[in-house]
């Protein structure tokens, strides 16, 4: 509370209040889809599309959440998604950060060309890559396996270039003197990378953790192509499975219930990443 008073005195009380009001108003706007999702998940299917829309359904069908597990193999999808996401994140944490440091601070022939090549992998839409990707994975006999869902992404394919680019930009902002001091002390590049550079880009690492988790968790098109059977599906596929082939046959409430249950981990990871990575920066006394 004291901090707020001091701050308000510095900037004027009105600024603090305006800030709060704006942020809360915006937050309500941002929360709307989530509230809508929960509201729909508790409705009966015939109540979903009435106008004017009802936000609080009566009665509340809490059993929709149970029905999700009865109709589809939701638990298995959840488990698969956890495995795939952690596998991808672990791999990307190594592959992307190392590459980003090399592209940012080390000099070697072809560096810029290779970086541009990597970046260009983000520029071809996956829709035209789908068929060749399937053929490639089929030739590796990797269709419908865990390795096909984890290993390419863990090595930074299919979107890892994003993280490499992100970290490269942040590495470039670190003053060269810090590196040079480490070099004089005789540290190997790996040591410099691990002990000097990485801790200094913790906010960017937090951002990277959030994105890679979110995109792996919600990944739809890639698993659609490379998995066949029900027991290998991930959450995004399972939830889309509530869509009927025809309009009007979609199980909206169940779909929203499943969606709501699958969003939670991402929010948790977000809060943890912010806390762990960023609060950690304060203790170094260098930034913030």
């Amino acid at each position: 509370m004291n901090k707020i008073l001091i701050f308000c005195k510095k900037k004027g009380l009105s600024w603090g209040i305006i800030s709060y009001i704006l942020i809360i108003a915006g937050a309500i706007g941002m929360l709307m889809p989530f509230l809508w999702m929960i509201s729909t998940s508790l409705k009966d299917i015939n109540q979903v599309f009435i106008i004017p829309p009802k936000w609080v359904p009566e009665p509340c069908h809490w059993e929709n959440y149970k029905r999700v597990f009865e109709l589809i193999n939701f638990g298995r999808y959840y488990w698969n998604t956890i495995l795939v996401t952690t596998g991808r994140m672990a791999g990307m944490f190594i592959a992307c950060t190392l590459a980003a440091y090399a592209f940012a601070r080390l000099k070697f022939p072809g560096r810029d060309i290779l970086f541009f090549l990597l970046l260009s992998s983000l520029m071809l839409p996956f829709e035209v890559l789908m068929v060749p990707v399937f053929m490639l994975m089929k030739n590796l006999h990797w269709i419908n396996t865990y390795q096909v869902l984890i290993i390419p992404h863990a090595l930074g394919a299919f979107g890892g270039a994003f993280s490499v680019f992100l970290l490269k930009q942040f590495f470039l902002t670190i003053p060269k003197e810090l590196e040079e001091a480490a070099i004089i002390d005789g540290a190997s590049p790996f040591r410099i990378f691990w002990s000097v550079m990485l801790p200094l880009v913790k906010p960017a690492l937090a951002a990277m953790a959030i994105f890679t988790f979110g995109s792996a968790w919600n990944d739809f098109t890639y698993p659609l192509i490379v998995t066949n059977t029900d027991n290998m599906k991930v959450l995004a596929l399972g939830i889309a499975g509530f869509k009927g082939f025809r309009e009007g046959l979609t199980q909206w409430p169940l779909m929203m219930a499943a969606s709501a249950m699958s969003i939670l981990p991402i929010v948790i990871v977000f809060i943890l990443a912010q806390k762990y990575f960023i609060e950690g920066v304060k203790t170094t006394g260098l930034k913030g």
């Binding site: 901090k3 989530f34 260009s120 035209v128 890559l129 890892g160 470039l172 005789g186 806390k275 913030g288």
Partner: protein, 331 residues
């Protein structure tokens, strides 16, 4: 690292230290592997470590992305239905593309969309980040998580909600528009307003994403710069313009490029919300690619369009990279 280029004096030192291991131990903090590399010059050491570090990521690229990308490019020179026989037709797809008014419309729509996102969405994300970085705010992390929620929400759920929000007669957006005295807009049914509606929804959905990156950038700015500016008597605008923005420029550069790449490939919103209509006003390049590839059995043609998209993005990124010398400030 940092040793002389000639190995000769080093050789002598090496012999001496072997015979008298106690001498100058404190300078010998280097690891075993360094002993081998110190034969190489500094330049070559950098080569070694450079290639070693990029090896996992490049392995991923060459193993899993190069073949599909080259396939996609090669397919653009064929007439192919997606399976079955392929027929090499050279640049015929490209010629067809430039004469296809549907494709030209798609390109314009995509450019319109991208500009909308870049000019409104990116500054909005910056403002949000600045707001949510203020120290006095209690529950900052909580608010940040809320602003990030739309990013991870399912597009199906989001489009359900926005179809209602943008409804002509019952929608919230028109409610506010009428409150300030303007006539209601037939958002999703009017070809002039469907794309703005889509842009509005996309900004709402995607701003949290860029906000997180801006936040990371803001948190990386050393406090000392602000304190110096305070001492010089700068007000908040000066601080923002001369401290925050320049030091944020590497992150801004990243956001502009990645937002551009992402916006140019927009597909989900057009597919689920408006199905490319009304009157093709929300048909984007990738939407047209999808239709051609998977519903109309024109896979080769679709690949040609995708290749054009790739070329546009490569050129745009290259231009940005050259321009960055003018405004991006690395320490």
């Amino acid at each position: 690292m940092g040793r002389g280029h000639s190995p000769f004096p080093f050789f002598i030192k090496f012999l001496i230290f072997n015979k008298f291991p106690n001498i100058k131990k404190k300078k010998r903090k280097v690891k075993d592997s360094q002993m081998k590399e110190t034969r190489l010059s500094y330049k070559h050491q950098q080569w070694f470590w450079g290639y070693l570090f990029i090896f996992p990521a490049m392995l991923g690229f060459f193993l899993f992305m190069l073949y599909p990308m080259l396939s996609g490019i090669l397919m653009s020179f064929t007439k192919w239905g997606g399976f079955g026989s392929q027929e090499w037709i050279g640049t015929a797809n490209y010629v067809k593309m430039f004469n296809d008014k549907h494709f030209i419309v798609a390109v314009w729509n995509t450019i319109y969309y991208t500009l909308g996102i870049l000019t409104i969405g990116v500054p909005l994300a910056l403002i949000l980040a600045v707001f949510l970085n203020q120290k006095f705010l209690k529950g900052r992390n909580f608010f940040r998580a809320i602003y990030y929620l739309p990013v991870i929400s399912m597009m199906v759920a989001v489009s359900m909600l926005w179809k209602w929000l943008l409804s002509t007669n019952h929608g919230l957006v028109n409610y506010f528009i009428e409150l300030i005295g303007l006539p209601p807009v037939n958002w999703l049914l009017d070809p002039r307003w469907a794309m703005p509606g889509l842009i509005l929804m996309s900004i709402w959905k995607g701003t949290g994403f860029n906000m997180v990156i801006f936040l990371a950038g803001l948190q990386g700015i050393p406090q000392v710069y602000y304190e110096v500016a305070d001492i010089d008597g700068a007000n908040w605008w000066h601080k923002f313009r001369h401290v925050t923005l320049p030091l944020l420029s590497p992150a801004t550069f990243f956001i502009i490029i990645t937002t551009m790449i992402h916006s140019f490939q927009i597909f989900q919103q057009a597919y689920i919300m408006t199905e490319g209509g009304p009157q093709e006003s929300t048909t984007t390049i990738v939407y047209y690619v999808y239709k051609n590839a998977f519903e109309w059995f024109h896979m080769g043609y679709a690949c040609a369009q995708a290749v054009l998209l790739l070329i546009i993005l490569i050129l745009a990124t290259y231009v940005q990279k050259e321009l960055q010398k003018k405004w991006v400030f690395y320490e």
